[in-house]
Symmetry: C2
Subunit: 531 residues, 2 copies
Amino acid sequence: MIGLRRLTSVVRPVGSRIVKTGVCKPFYSLSRVNLYSTKTVQLTADTYKDKVSRSPDFKKLEVADIDYFKSVLNDSNSILTDEDDLSFYNEDWMRKYRGQSKLVLKPRNAEQVSQILKYCNEKKLAVVPQGGNTGLVGGSIPIFDEIIISVASINKIRHFDNVSGILKCDAGVILENADNYLGQQGYIFPLDLGAKGSCHVGGVVATNAGGLRLLRYGSLHGSVLGLEVVLPDGTIYNSMNSLRKDNTGFDLKQLFIGSEGSIGIITGVSILCPSRPNSFNVALLGVSSYETVQKVFVETRKELGEILSAFEFMDGKSQILTGRYLKLDHPIESAEFPFYILIETSGSNKEHDDEKLETFLGNQMENGLVEDGIIAQDEAQVKSLWSWRESLPEASNSAGGVYKYDVSLPLSDLYGLVDAAGEKLAEAGLVDMDDESKPVVGAVGYGHVGDGNLHLNVCVREYSKKVEEVLEPFVYEWIQQHKGSISAEHGLGFQKKNYIGYTKNENEIKLMKQLKAHYDPNGIMNPYKYI
Amino acid sequence: MIGLRRLTSVVRPVGSRIVKTGVCKPFYSLSRVNLYSTKTVQLTADTYKDKVSRSPDFKKLEVADIDYFKSVLNDSNSILTDEDDLSFYNEDWMRKYRGQSKLVLKPRNAEQVSQILKYCNEKKLAVVPQGGNTGLVGGSIPIFDEIIISVASINKIRHFDNVSGILKCDAGVILENADNYLGQQGYIFPLDLGAKGSCHVGGVVATNAGGLRLLRYGSLHGSVLGLEVVLPDGTIYNSMNSLRKDNTGFDLKQLFIGSEGSIGIITGVSILCPSRPNSFNVALLGVSSYETVQKVFVETRKELGEILSAFEFMDGKSQILTGRYLKLDHPIESAEFPFYILIETSGSNKEHDDEKLETFLGNQMENGLVEDGIIAQDEAQVKSLWSWRESLPEASNSAGGVYKYDVSLPLSDLYGLVDAAGEKLAEAGLVDMDDESKPVVGAVGYGHVGDGNLHLNVCVREYSKKVEEVLEPFVYEWIQQHKGSISAEHGLGFQKKNYIGYTKNENEIKLMKQLKAHYDPNGIMNPYKYI
């Protein structure tokens, strides 16, 4: 890591221009190659045969149904029935879930979706809406023979207003395409995530994705201005307006943000986009405790306020594992710290941003909170520092496997879960970083402090019933006791459908079930999942 | 206006520290003195007797009902039946609406609200939830004999986490008290408005208030993290968590943001608060056209991006009227400009903010977009510049009266409505700025460009049927044609209940009515209003 500048108690490095394109984070895309592996994925219906069975309420697909869909779509490319063609849509990219759909429909507009859904609703044919198929909880994969309705062919940019920054586009536009388009106009999509090359704008909204810009640009509930959604009965709900302020009745679109295809299919999105910052900085710091991480976070918000765009933390163990995986010395070589912080700033004036960051870091070293650290001096160094955060998922998996928990907790308790899981595993005598006879390498924690989002990775040498029994339901119960969420950003899908009670109370669940029944009385939308 | 510095083509004024407290904007609070006037307000039921009549479905209040409420509240101060006591709750502060309620209940917690609502729902007693009673559309005032449920006694700060910036408080906490409390911790409430000294946090959420910080901190749909709400059947929906990210099911709380008391009573709010900026700047600029206003807005977002906190525009006529009203020369004396722009920045570093603003203004003068302008040098000057924006509502009203339209439009059409209304009035021969024989002084426009929010004020010497007929439904139809909203921030309430069709389409209205019926099948919540 030659060339990175070590911080001294007063920091005055020379800043260099850093381009954001270089900082996009391929958390998931690396694993995407798995898709082309030949290993057959077990049918979800088999894996979970004791937990789920096909509902007899749903009609089975017949030739007459396919004939009807042909009359609607009027285009052979929009109807897939060939088994090979279907396999891409029947499996998730992690190759964890596999459905048995016999039919994929690829409508080209909301009107076609409406005709399809209306028919399915009347005939009680179950459906699964699908976007880019990059989900992590099996939400867009059929369990049995549900018809897959892919929005991949509904994929046009509809309009962009370069005064207000409001983008209107079809649901099937790939996130990266939307962001590149916006980049040409000097704007930025208010959300970024590793799967950006595959995931759809509509899918991002349907799952209320959080991603890497949430700290700065807030949640989709604030930035989405309007939606076009087809309801199960074929009604097209259209609120694709361009208004930031509109207080005329219930804000219905909010219901569909994060509804995971359970009450409608999003076909269009209107969203407010911020101006693209032209200056980026990244620093990596070593601190002595999680308490200090929190203190530095408070100081960061105060001093870097409007230019702060990421505040990620990683524990020491995670960095040791990452170092082994990358076969590299850690960029902060002076000592092994219990915690590391990665700070990114982005703003409109490079000189000002540099000065703010340097003054801030100087202050933090003088007051003793930050013990050592590094500021990236060019784009390569930015990438290099980010890689110590980005490589963490793969590093966690490198010993043989990983139990992953994507949770949200009040900040003060955020790291407590990692400690608690580590202690439980130690008590059971299951964990050792170097002893190959133990099933668990370690429980490591990292995440977005700014969003209260922790990734707990229990890195194992092999999957084992014993480890699972120590972890579950313990982890979920711990989250419940500390008023956290068992799913910060990945959603419920199929995987966490039955765990919602750990985060939501009885009344909330009752109201959600009522709402589901209200909009989808026949239950045809994405069955066996969500709520 | 001695002491304000005139901009030259390159601007380098010396910045001075400006404290935000001095900049709060008492748009409505001045008129609040009206409350103590002795003039009797006409009963809403009489004013609108051809439009609304009491529903026979609702039970009339009996002694037995009051006895029940006494048993719940167990405190004579919490039950008001005396006519004098009731008048404050029966009238809105503008003295436009007056109801005939015989009972005000002031519960102290959600549990008491639950017992009250459950009873009312069973007995079909209609109710009106009420917060600080600062609404502008009669939404919190009974029309007939609805029971008023005031949340004024549910008014405690519950918790503040000074690491995450998450505030949990009762619905009845006055906005200014919440903001002052946050100020002591170095934070700021993400919303500010003129009525802050009276309005409640809960009311702000129930009406989805926009206010003066929306451009910077976004809408409440993004910043509210959780709510405690009592539903008509007494169910307490509680999602008062402290999580920024939580993807476990429908985000139900969103439904209550902006629902104007139509499906539940908000009793608690959890909200994410940003760090309080410590540097503020204000500049007032003169430009030649509305097109230039838009161009300057684009440049502002680019150059001031992260520190921009207000971008207000005012037309030339509005400034002439304000000058007459304030009896002052305009701070930009060099010429009368067709449009003026007020820019506010707030950030964490005064020197950086000054430099950004000065460089930006220098650029705008060099490229010819901005023709003249002024930067405030101290707090008094900040107030003075803001007063040319803040005094506009009173100035508009000073000739005798004003027809006010709070609308939202796509930015490119924003000012078109003012032109269109002005032309219609001119065609009808009704308007002249100086000719006292004409009923209309002028149609003036101003507003938050950043939010697409226009205030069209038709300033009149007297209210007249003729003027009204020219303006309505013309204004609403124009908004509809240009895909705007007839209510940007004030809401529907009683005043605009019947106009929703100008902004929302048939399907949207149908879905809203279904939702209202779903949560409030007996229709007891805030009847005769909203949807």
